[in-house]
Symmetry: C2
Subunit: 233 residues, 2 copies
DNA sequence: TAGATTGTTAATCGATTAACAATC
DNA sequence: TAGATTGTTAATCGATTAACAATC
């Protein structure tokens, strides 16, 4: 009988996991495509308001500075079919994109950490239709508790546990200090949260089935500053 | 003599441009790598404060949930060499990363559009060291002009032209309404701005030498909502 | 020395781009 | 019909991952 070495075992387990993972990810839309979709939606809504009934992929590509073939491929995820020589129906496309992205219905969310960034996101969302609506914010600071920001109450952190029992909220926005992010995230998962929009710099360690969307401003700053540096040399 | 058809000409010009572009981009660090670097920096700073002198790529990869080979490759851009069986010197790495990213010196920036998101970024930056410091904000709204937010004056938009003459600011943060973004961006370029951190949904049309870093919150919302949807089916 | 880790080079993987037939 | 545009399939490109020699 052949005895695996430890390294072999690990490799085999890794491969199996990857295969399973990949299978469940099959026919999922790729992240680059998903990130481009809101851009199409915004542009198409503008165009539609201007009264255009149809628009071709080359026209869209020209406006958004990307390859027409890519536009065709990206838009195909909505299931909407275009007509040769005519293009796509702007109304149909807008509608399908909103539905596909989940921007057409209200996705309720909790927000934890009513600091600067937290406050900003609370105020911001009133004006942008991200499809995500913060219904309650939580903080531990006595000064912040009781405040109204952008029409949202800031509640005591402990109330999270009660409230999550009553409401079926699946999304949480995490804007706490980095040091407590992991701890808070675990609480959120225990409260039934399925997806965390993480604005902290902490790398969260959570069960595989929890969706974590890391959004670090410093990544963008890094690209901008480095490109500026490159261009000057 | 062979006469090109128009399509051929366009194709050839495109190819030439791409070749030139690529040449100037040669040995530039890729965007995915750049976006990961602040994560390494943040983690290494924490680790260094805890007193660790050396750290290996596998240890970093484990903490940040990414491939050790990728860690090695990413960190190689700093020029810091690790020692086999020992790893990298945490102090050297932190220092080199900060320098490489431009986070070690103050990069002055203007901010245009002191709305919700603008205010947030003004307050936020005090606490995070993104390497970018807003030294003045501009708005057209009478109510906002004269306010102090996060220690930053909100000035009348027209003052931008005077001030940019005196100061050598190269970076601008754009948080205006979408409708005026293009117009403001052109003003900024005329004022000598070289890099624009664009938080609007408008696709800016600017000279090739201007660096535009698009940062749309809705892209992240799109990925999060879609993944949540996928996981539920 | 033995073995873990670096660093480089090759293989793989996935996304973008190109090519082209189908079609309105 | 002619020709622009869709939509699919193939080629290219670039990033990630794997393999392995060098080295402390």
């Amino acid at each position: 009988m052949y005895i695996f070495e430890m390294n072999d075992r690990i490799k085999i387990r890794k491969k199996t996991m990857n295969a399973t993972r990949k299978n469940s990810l099959k026919n999922q839309v790729s992240e680059p495509t998903l990130k481009r979709l809101p851009g199409y939606l915004f542009f198409l809504e503008k165009v539609r308001e201007e009264g255009l009934i149809n628009i071709s992929a080359p026209t869209i590509g020209n406006a958004l500075k990307c390859d027409p073939t890519q536009v065709v491929k990206d838009l195909s995820v909505t299931g909407i079919k275009g007509k040769p020589r005519v293009g796509y129906n702007t109304y149909e496309l807008c509608h399908a994109l909103e539905e596909f992205l989940g921007f057409n219905h209200v996705n309720e969310a909790f927000l934890v950490g009513a600091g600067n960034l937290g406050n900003a996101l609370m105020s911001y969302q009133e004006h942008q239709t991200l499809g995500i609506k913060v219904i309650a914010a939580f903080d531990v600071s006595k000064e912040k508790i009781g405040q109204h920001i952008g029409g949202i109450h800031v509640l005591e952190y402990n109330k999270l546990f009660h409230l999550s029992n009553r409401l079926e909220v699946k999304i949480a926005i995490l804007t706490t200090p980095n040091e407590v992010a992991q701890e808070v995230a675990e609480d959120l998962v225990n409260c039934g949260i399925k997806a965390i929009w993480n604005f902290t710099l902490t790398n969260l360690n959570l069960p595989d089935n929890i969706i974590v969307q890391n959004t670090s401003m410093s990544s963008f700053a890094a690209v901008l500053l480095r490109r500026l540096n490159d261009s000057e040399s």
